[in-house]
C-alpha cells in the first residue's frame, strides 16, 4: 500500500492562542514494500509526520493518500478504522499502552477490535510471541510483571497481530540494551524482506537508517528537506551537519581510513561487513599495483 503526503502542513491547537505549526508543506512518497527511514533532530516534526500515516492527525493543509483512501484538510474523514488496520504504528515506548490482565489478551486486543475471531487472534498471538523472541509461557502472565524489554516485545507483538500492510516504527529500540536493539531491528528487517511489509522507521540513529533503509528522508524544523538513497544522503556530510545530523559511525570510520591510505574507496559503505570487504579489496588492489 502506497502512502503519499502532498503539501501537508499541520498546526497544533488550531484557532487558539497556542496555535503552533509543526509541519510545513511536507511532500513524502512511500511506495509499497519499501523500507523508508525518516531521520531528523529532536523537534524536527518526525513524530507529527508519522501520525498522519494512519489518520490519527488530519493535515491542516494539503492531503494524505493512504492506499486508495484520501484524507484532506478541511474535510471530515470517516471510517478510518480500515486504514488503521492496514497501517500499524509502534509508538515510542509502546510498553505504555499495555493494559490487559494477561499478555495473551493484550496481543489479541488489536485484531479483535478489527473483527478478527477469537480463535484466529489467539493463534496469531501464539505465533507472534515466538517471533518477538519470548517463550510461550509469558502469554499467561500479567504484562506488568515483565521487564521493560519484554514489555516492549509484547507491545510490538500487539501491533503486528493486526497483520498490517504497513508498519510505522517510532524509535522502536529507544532505551533497550544493544543486544535487544539489534534483535528487534533485525526482526523488523526480516519481516520486511520475507513478507514484503512496507516499513517506515522514524529514528535518530543514523546507523539503523544506513543499515536497513532503502530510502531516507530528512526532516528539519517541520520541513522534509532531503530525500534519497542512504548512499546519496550520507555522501555529503556538510549538508547533514547543517541539519544537525551526523554521519553514521561506519561512514565516519570509512572517511578516516580513506585519509590514512590516501585513497577513496569505490563506494560509501553502510554496514561493517560492506566496509571490511571494501577495505580488503582496496588493500588487495594496492598490493597488485606495487
Amino acid at each position: 500500500m502506497d502512502i503519499k503526503l502532498q503539501q501537508v502542513s499541520y498546526a497544533y491547537s488550531m484557532g487558539t492562542p497556542f496555535e503552533k505549526f509543526a509541519l510545513f508543506e511536507v511532500d513524502l512518497d512511500i511506495p509499497s514494500k519499501t523500507y523508508q527511514a525518516i531521520i531528523g533532530h529532536t523537534g524536527s516534526g518526525k513524530s507529527t509526520v508519522l501520525q498522519h500515516f494512519n489518520g490519527l492527525l488530519k493535515p491542516s493543509k494539503g492531503e494524505v493518500h493512504i492506499g486508495d483512501r484520501k484524507i484532506e484538510a478541511g474535510k471530515k474523514a470517516k471510517e478510518l478504522k480500515s486504514v488503521r488496520q492496514k497501517v500499524g504504528i509502534v509508538f515510542q515506548f509502546p510498553e505504555h499502552q499495555l493494559f490487559e490482565e494477561t499478555v495473551l489478551k493484550d496481543i489479541m486486543f488489536g485484531p479483535m477490535n478489527f473483527g478478527i475471531s477469537e480463535e484466529e487472534a489467539e493463534k496469531r498471538a501464539r505465533d507472534l510471541i515466538h517471533l518477538v523472541g519470548l517463550p510461550e509461557h509469558v502469554l499467561d502472565k500479567s504484562p506488568f510483571d515483565l521487564s521493560g524489554g519484554q514489555m516492549r516485545r509484547v507491545a510490538i507483538a500487539g501491533v503486528l497481530a493486526m497483520e498490517p500492510e504497513v508498519i510505522v516504527l517510532d524509535e522502536p529500540t529507544a532505551g533497550l540494551d544493544p543486544r535487544g536493539q539489534k534483535e528487534i531491528m533485525d526482526m523488523f528487517y526480516t519481516l520486511h524482506k520475507e513478507r514484503g511489509l512496507t516499513t517506515i522507521l522514524v529514528t535518530h540513529s543514523m546507523e539503523d537508517a544506513a543499515r536497513y533503509a532503502d530510502r531516507i528522508s530528512i526532516m528539519h524544523e517541520g520541513r522534509c528537506v532531503l530525500s534519497g538513497t542512504p548512499r546519496e544522503i550520507f555522501a555529503d556530510s556538510e549538508t547533514l551537519e547543517s541539519y544537525r545530523l551526523e554521519l553514521p559511525r561506519i561512514v565516519k570510520f570509512q572517511r578516516k581510513i580513506e585519509k590514512m591510505i590516501n585513497q577513496n574507496l569505490s563506494k560509501i559503505c553502510l554496514t561493517e561487513e560492506e566496509l571490511s570487504e571494501e577495505i580488503a579489496h582496496a588493500l588487495r588492489e594496492g598490493r597488485d599495483q606495487s
Binding site: Y12, S13, G15, T16, P17, F18, Q51, N54, L56, K81, R84, Q85, G88, I89, F91, P94, H96, Q97, L98, F99, F109, G110, N113, F114, F144, G158, V159, M162
Partner: protein, 265 residues
C-alpha cells in the same frame, strides 16, 4: 478536543492583570465570589457583568477564546437556565403554550443565575489564565501562613497543590499519547454505541494509572536525593512583591462592592 480546554491553563502575557501580585489576585477573586451574592436586581447584575467584562478587557485575553474554551461550562449554564424557566412558578405568565407555562419570575431568575454563574467562571478562569500555577501556589502559601499557628501544614498543602497543577499538562499529554496508541490498535473512543465507548475507556485508564503511580514514585525519589525535608528553613527563589497596582486593584473591588450595596434592592 483536549487542546481547546482552558481550565487551569496559563497564557503568558504582560497585561495589567498579568503583572499583578498573585496574592492580590487571589484575594480579589475570593472576595469577588462573595460580592457576587450582593447582586439581586437588574441594575446590580448588569454592573456585575460590566465589571467582569472590564477585567477580561484588562487581561487582554480574547473573549472569543474564553467563550470557546469554556464551552462545556456554558452547556451547563444553558441547562440550569432551562431548569429555572421550567420549574419556577411565580409572577405573571408571559408565555402560555398550554402544556407549558413560562413565568416572569422564572425567566428573571434564569437570567440572573446564569449571569452569576458566568461571572464566577470568567473571573476564576481569568485568574488561572493570567497567573502561572507556581505563582498561584506561592500566593496561597503566603496567604495561608497565619494558619500555621493552628498546626495546619501550609507548606505541604501548597506543595501538594503545585505538584498536582504541575502534572496536569503532563497527564494530558500522556492521555493523548495512550489514546492515540490504542486508536492505532483499533479501539474507538468517539464512535459506536455507549456501551462500547465506556468499554474503550479501560485501555486508556489502566496505562494512565500505572504511569501516574510510577511518576509519583520517581518524583518522591528525586526529591529525596536532592535533600528535600519540608518547608522548615527553606529559602525562596521567587519573592513576591506588593505594588501600588495591587492596592489599586483591591481598592477598585471595595468601591465596586459599595456600588452594589447602594443599588441593590
Amino acid at each position: 478536543m483536549m487542546e481547546k480546554m482552558i481550565f487551569g491553563r496559563y497564557i503568558p502575557g504582560n497585561s495589567y492583570v498579568h503583572t499583578l501580585d498573585p496574592r492580590s489576585k487571589l484575594v480579589f477573586v475570593f472576595a469577588f465570589i462573595i460580592i457576587v451574592f450582593l447582586a439581586n436586581n437588574a441594575v446590580t447584575y448588569a454592573l456585575l457583568l460590566a465589571f467582569t467584562l472590564l477585567v477580561v478587557l484588562l487581561s487582554r485575553i480574547r473573549l472569543y477564546f474564553l467563550i470557546n474554551g469554556l464551552k462545556p461550562v456554558i452547556l451547563l449554564l444553558v441547562f440550569t437556565f432551562i431548569i429555572h424557566i421550567l420549574f419556577t412558578r411565580e409572577g405573571d405568565v408571559i408565555l402560555d403554550l398550554g402544556f407549558l407555562k413560562i413565568y416572569e419570575e422564572g425567566l428573571k431568575q434564569g437570567i440572573f443565575i446564569s449571569i452569576r454563574f458566568l461571572v464566577l467562571v470568567f473571573m476564576t478562569s481569568i485568574l488561572t489564565l493570567t497567573t502561572s500555577p507556581i505563582s498561584i501556589t506561592d500566593g496561597i502559601e503566603v496567604l495561608l501562613n497565619p494558619l500555621k499557628k493552628v498546626k495546619l501544614p501550609v507548606h505541604e498543602l501548597a506543595l501538594m497543590m503545585s505538584i498536582a497543577l504541575r502534572f496536569i499538562p503532563t497527564l494530558m499529554d500522556e492521555t493523548d499519547k495512550i489514546m492515540k496508541a490504542q486508536m492505532a490498535r483499533g479501539s474507538d473512543l468517539s464512535a459506536g454505541p455507549m456501551k462500547d465507548r465506556i468499554k474503550a475507556v479501560v485501555p486508556l485508564l489502566v496505562p494512565l494509572f500505572v504511569s501516574a503511580f510510577k511518576r509519583a514514585e520517581d518524583l518522591a525519589t528525586a526529591m529525596e536525593v536532592r535533600g528535600y525535608r519540608g518547608g522548615e528553613g527553606r529559602t525562596r527563589y521567587r519573592q513576591l512583591k506588593w505594588d501600588w497596582k495591587d492596592s489599586l486593584c483591591l481598592a477598585t473591588l471595595v468601591l465596586f462592592a459599595v456600588l452594589l450595596f447602594i443599588y441593590r434592592s
